[in-house]
Subunit: 411 residues, 2 copies
Amino acid sequence: MTTINQNYLELQGSYLFSEIAKRRTAFIQNNPNAEIISLGIGDVTRGLPSSVLNAMHAAVDELAEPGSFRGYGPEQGYDFLVKAIIENDYKSRGIDLALHEVFVSDGSKCDVGNIQEIFSNDAIVAVQDPVYPVYVDTNVMAGRSGSFNPDTKRYNNIVYLECTAENQFKPSLPTQKVDLIYLCYPNNPTGMTLTKDELKVWVDYARENNCLILFDSAYEAFIQEKDVPHSIYEIEGAKEVAIEFRSFSKTAGFTGVRCAYTVVPRDIKGFDAAGNTVLVNDLWNRRHTTKFNGVSYVTQRGAAAIYSPEGKEQIASLVNYYMTNAGIIREGLASIGLEVYGGVNAPYIWLKTPSGMDSWSFFDKLLGEAHIVGTPGVGFGQSGQGYFRLTAFGSLENTEKAVDRIRQLTL
Amino acid sequence: MTTINQNYLELQGSYLFSEIAKRRTAFIQNNPNAEIISLGIGDVTRGLPSSVLNAMHAAVDELAEPGSFRGYGPEQGYDFLVKAIIENDYKSRGIDLALHEVFVSDGSKCDVGNIQEIFSNDAIVAVQDPVYPVYVDTNVMAGRSGSFNPDTKRYNNIVYLECTAENQFKPSLPTQKVDLIYLCYPNNPTGMTLTKDELKVWVDYARENNCLILFDSAYEAFIQEKDVPHSIYEIEGAKEVAIEFRSFSKTAGFTGVRCAYTVVPRDIKGFDAAGNTVLVNDLWNRRHTTKFNGVSYVTQRGAAAIYSPEGKEQIASLVNYYMTNAGIIREGLASIGLEVYGGVNAPYIWLKTPSGMDSWSFFDKLLGEAHIVGTPGVGFGQSGQGYFRLTAFGSLENTEKAVDRIRQLTL
């Protein structure tokens, strides 16, 4: 009898997106001529920049002949890409990293999902609420979550750090001992950020309390304001206590091309049961080389092209396109008195639903009356109740049209 | 204090390939003019077929414009690829599979490494010896292996199924209760296969003893003989007890392009602690969608092109190229009285070292006297001691030259 990983039974159904799809389908059946605009998904829609396309074509050509063919590459990524990452994303901000501190992967979802494996199964995990579900689900699978409490709709052994308008979506420090803290800035879903001083509080806390920050920075490219740190390593001492996750998905339109990277500094110390020091970098390297076989060569060449002068300009223009949409949504909604957050340093707009509606009621109203699909905030956690997420990843035309429709609603 | 996953400390150093690199480097330092030929690595060397290249170029072009852009795809793979897989790799052999029984991934190494996650941590694991190290290492990381015994050089809780010349590299059934059995056919490293009748013994055993077969079939494309099954599902009842792993890496030269797939039939039942049935397909789907974000669109289009009429011809020609090499090695070595195995249905040749030399002594002799790098069999497990692996993935010219050199050795 093959027994299964019992922890999987504690996973809650991925209710959010299936429920959205269900309600959308039902609406379309009753309103076959409605022109629905989706501001719900977190996926990009623009074409890839020509610098990336050219690099990918050239890489495909290289694979044609034995002389230039590339088979297995280094699991951690080719040096040409790792060097470009370090030079452009870190050294330019005064942060030194060694080649073997950067691990190229096929996606941040994989990395933030897999990272927990290298830590003890009894580590106490803290997450922001609302939260990207992968942090929670992967810890449920590993058995760190404890049972799901149907009353609180939370897992008993996970520490939830609430982020609401009351605290400007800036969580308080944990009041109990935790080992791993997932922080996401610029935040998905709220679109909010921390200043350097605010992030320093977390780094100092981690150093004083011997915990580790898992810093998901997938939306870094969208930062516009000066005082918002682009990397957690801009904070002194962070290299001892933080792992940083970055992605090319939203930065460069790589959601279908698949490339990301994770920084695991050699300064991070873990401890075994006997109290001996073990370098977390060594553990991640072992995991990465044992369970992963490197990113497609074609993809890595495409990613490296982003760092060319032409690539940088094109990426900036892509980011600007989406941030223009974000501004249109943000200002359009604010102009009719809605309480809106995010959208300044992130492609997500987080709004407080009007008149105390719950998230799903607002979903139904927006779909029914404006033919717009968004994402109910409660889908990201209990602290998301009464909030709603819109994304800036649509076309400019659809974004303008959607905002016009919302402005005409009676709220 | 962040405590680590203590199981990682039981991992043994990846001694094999670092030791090979060390001895090779030392040799080159002392013999800078020697022309070394590597028949050691398991990586392909030919260029990609034009059908694949054309499909990849076309896919890159699609990503240029919003109208044809592809962002996130289904984590399980696009239907166009899954349908091609089912139609060509299974239906053509009389095997019916549903779309949701096939999971496209970025590599078999990932899949065979990750599959253990969905089973209980106290599952008893059986592996062939010699063995592809990933099966063992990923179970060590999960805590299923028990301690490493430095005397036997084996893990205490893993069941090793010995494969030597004495049993024609066909392991005996386990004599103790096991839950998960990793079988690899055509085998890496021995290059040997099972007939249908021989594989049926394992399927029947698994059905009678409620265990699961994890069938690694990465080298399926190299099968030449009629009685060798291409899929474990050719055996009646296998859909209830076997997960099958396939790869495009060696089939089509995708080691740097990254694509594979795993078949998890809906008929496989797992059991929770209370004895309730849980579909293993559901568990793997949940794992795959939570920790993985799909294979690069460009790669998937390239993989699908393999199934076009032109693609099939080109793949057959690639396989033929490598199998010609295999024949040259096999026959060349046999002609001087060496005991050789494999190389008929697989790109690996497994030879018994002459005069009772141990694997590393033969490595040194081959490198020192013939300037050829191969892989010591003992690196794959204790039952590989006194054996040696050569691969057929080099160029025809180098393969012929290498065999000529070996023929001139005094053995």
